[in-house]
């Protein structure tokens, strides 16, 4: 078993507010783009340091530069503008809605610079992340494509190009964050067609579902061409934990609730891990928070990572 994170890390805390101050100064015209970029790099270095220090086996870069899951792509892609703020699923967190105005194209290098920077900082194994095509397509406002299917597959082609770019830069695992798949299980066939296009990029993928129960899709998910499937087994009423053997891939088990401040006990998590291990070999189980930790205050996120790693050790799957 390995431990990992998904999504964004809390960028600031009550104690660590350099980035927040820099963004305010940038808004007021007191800090230029280069100056802000330097602070963003330092904050990324800080986030990666914290994730490494927590003892996780596989980390990401904390997505410090991402305003939201869709923003890096909506900013970089031709054919895409940025529209009004909208609520991100059932969170009191907002995203800027992409507005598709023409054919989406990308050179596929949107995330390369940041990945290379993070790789130079991270001590352990680093993975990359992209927005899932169905998530982007269902949250965007579309003035160009004729149908959800056309839009999703066009987005998939653009994301596949980004994954190729990441692969060329050395990425060996890419999270595909796809909450829309479990929010709209009726679109699973379309999501699968989109993921098949991503898989052609030739980089192992981890399909991360969160916010909603994956129960109705577990059998269908087994056929997705990905190396890993992330399943949130905590946030809502779900029995996915008892049905993990429906899956054929490595399961990234979301066992630490990243949307509630109550810190789980080690024994509570060990119980969940043992349930998983009764169905799957340890090599096929990774342990993670249910979603990005940015939905929590920083101090709680740190405590949750600590108990996650401790529980993994206690369950016997990770070297102490």
């Amino acid at each position: 078993m390995k431990t990992t994170v998904i999504g964004a890390y809390p960028k600031i805390s009550d104690e660590h507010q350099d980035l927040r101050r820099a963004l305010h100064r940038h808004d007021r015209g007191e800090l230029d783009a280069d100056g802000l970029s330097g602070v963003l790099d330092e904050s990324t270095r800080w986030a990666i340091g914290e994730l490494d220090w927590a003892g996780l086996d596989v980390i990401n870069d904390g997505q410090v530069r991402w305003d939201d899951l869709l923003a890096p792509f909506a900013r970089a892609w031709t054919g895409c503008d940025r529209g009004p703020l909208e609520r991100f699923y059932d969170n009191n967190t907002y995203f800027r809605q992409p507005v598709i105005t023409g054919p989406i194209t990308t050179e596929g290098t949107t995330l390369v610079r940041d990945f290379e920077f993070a790789r130079g900082v991270a001590r352990g194994q680093l993975k990359a992340a992209v927005c899932g095509p169905l998530t982007f397509a269902t949250l965007a406002e579309d003035h160009h494509y004729r149908s959800l299917e056309d839009r999703t597959l066009a987005v998939a082609d653009a994301i596949a190009a980004e994954i190729r770019g990441l692969g060329a830069a050395g990425a060996t695992l890419v999270d595909v964050e796809e909450p829309a798949l479990v929010a709209h299980p009726e679109h699973f066939a379309l999501a699968r067609a989109a993921i098949e296009r991503l898989a052609l990029a030739g980089v192992p993928l981890a399909l991360q579902t969160y916010f909603f129960p994956a129960d109705p899709l577990l059998d269908a998910l087994a056929a997705f061409p990905v190396a890993q499937v992330g399943v949130d087994v905590r946030s809502r009423d779900t029995h996915a934990l008892e049905r993990l053997n429906a899956l054929r891939q490595t399961v990234v088990l979301g066992i630490v609730d990243a949307r509630n401040t109550r810190v789980e006990t080690e024994s509570e998590l060990v119980g969940l891990i043992e349930t998983a291990l009764r169905q799957l070999p340890a090599d096929y189980v990774w342990l993670a928070p249910t979603t990005g930790l940015e939905y929590l205050p920083h101090d709680v996120a740190v405590k949750k990572l600590k108990v996650l790693v401790a529980a993994a050790h206690a369950a016997g799957g990770v070297k102490a």
């Binding site: 809390p10 960028k11 600031i12 805390s13 009550d14 927040r20 963004l23 305010h24 808004d27 305003d67 939201d68 009004p84 703020l85 909208e86 609520r87 059932d90 969170n91 009191n92 967190t93 907002y94 995203f95 800027r96 949307r259 509630n260 401040t261 109550r262 940015e294 939905y295 929590l296 205050p297 920083h298 101090d299 709680v300």
Partner: protein
């Protein structure tokens, strides 16, 4: 109050004057005391009452000069809550998200003194303004209650106490906002049940403001929310929610948002008036109340005032049209 139909109002918050923003920052750093801050909050509240009277708004608000976040204000005053660390809302906007850490209770009224003070400044009606139990729950972390329904009903009880105290203090209009009501459409029965607890003993006109989310996902079920009036953002959504009323007629009073609050620019009077006309296709003039889409706290004082001016001017344009139509040739 003016004669009438198409009563104008606002959602609740206005831009804070610079002197108050500075005082709030100084207070947060411990540089000025509570009484000094309170004096400035009262001054700013009176200024906003005078502005609303000058603008000729019919149903007034206190402008929330003494509040920051709409959940944290109450969480800081209720037993059972503690205030958590900073959490990002978007971009560079962070807030201290409350944590329901133990059984909630209301040690004393939280908004009644402000209501009394504000109402004493004017002959026009002033709204009592509360955050609804479902939104209080959804925008907090719940560590204390086993289920979200349990937490919502416990919060409903403290909101009920506050609402009844507002009514006893003379409030004729009481707003119980539920902007998070569509966060989980499958939980709307919980929101309806909790609101029923809050409004069960109220004779005052009850209002609930709903914004920023998929209203279509909870319509027409939301018509079962036990309040007299729904207060909806419409301009920001291009009035698309009105189309829902073709299939399932709207059955409550409608406070209709006719100017967007998230842009520095304000719609023209003509555009805003057209918004009112769209509303009149679904709701009678006696039951339609024009206002800005949402609270104006993110706008400056001047921008807030301009958006209110456009609402009132647009309303007067449409009232004249209605009067002409009603006059026999």
């Amino acid at each position: 109050m003016s004669d009438q139909v198409l009563l104008t109002t606002t959602v609740g918050s206005f831009g804070k004057p610079e002197y108050l923003q500075k005082a709030r920052n100084a207070s947060a750093r411990g540089k000025i005391g509570e009484s000094e801050l309170n004096e400035l909050e009262r001054k700013a509240t009176e200024e906003w009452i005078r502005r609303q009277e000058r603008l000729d708004i019919d149903i007034l608000v206190d402008g929330e000069m003494y509040r920051g976040d709409m959940v944290a204000y109450f969480a800081e005053r209720l037993d059972g809550f503690r205030i958590g660390g900073l959490v990002r809302s978007y971009g560079n906007r962070y807030y201290h998200k409350p944590i329901i850490a133990s059984k909630v209770g209301r040690p004393k009224p939280m908004t009644v003194d402000w209501f009394r003070y504000t109402q004493s400044l004017t002959d026009r009606p002033v709204k009592g303004m509360l955050t609804g139990p479902y939104t209080m729950l959804d925008w907090s972390y719940n560590e204390a209650y086993k289920t979200r329904r349990d937490a919502a009903l416990a919060l409903a009880e403290v909101v009920r106490q506050e609402a009844e105290d507002l009514q006893a203090a003379g409030a004729r209009y009481i707003r119980i906002d539920e902007p998070a009501i569509h966060a989980r459409p499958e939980e709307i029965d919980i929101a309806i049940e909790a609101m029923g607890v809050v409004t069960q003993n109220l004779d005052a006109k009850t209002i609930s403001h709903i914004c920023y989310g998929d209203f279509a996902a909870i319509y027409p079920k939301v018509l079962e929310l036990p309040v007299d009036q729904l207060d909806l953002a419409m301009a920001n959504y291009g009035y698309r929610w009105l189309e829902l009323f073709n299939k399932d007629p709207f059955t409550k009073e409608l406070a209709i948002g006719i100017v967007d609050v998230h842009s520095h620019e304000t719609e023209t009077v003509a555009t805003a008036a057209e918004g009112i006309r769209k509303g009149l296709r679904h709701v009678s003039k006696e039951r339609l109340l024009p206002h800005p889409d949402c609270g104006l706290k993110t706008r400056s004082v001047e921008e807030s005032e301009e958006k209110c001016r456009v609402v009132v001017e647009a309303t007067k344009v449409v009232r004249k049209e209605l009067a002409r139509e009603a006059t026999p040739a």
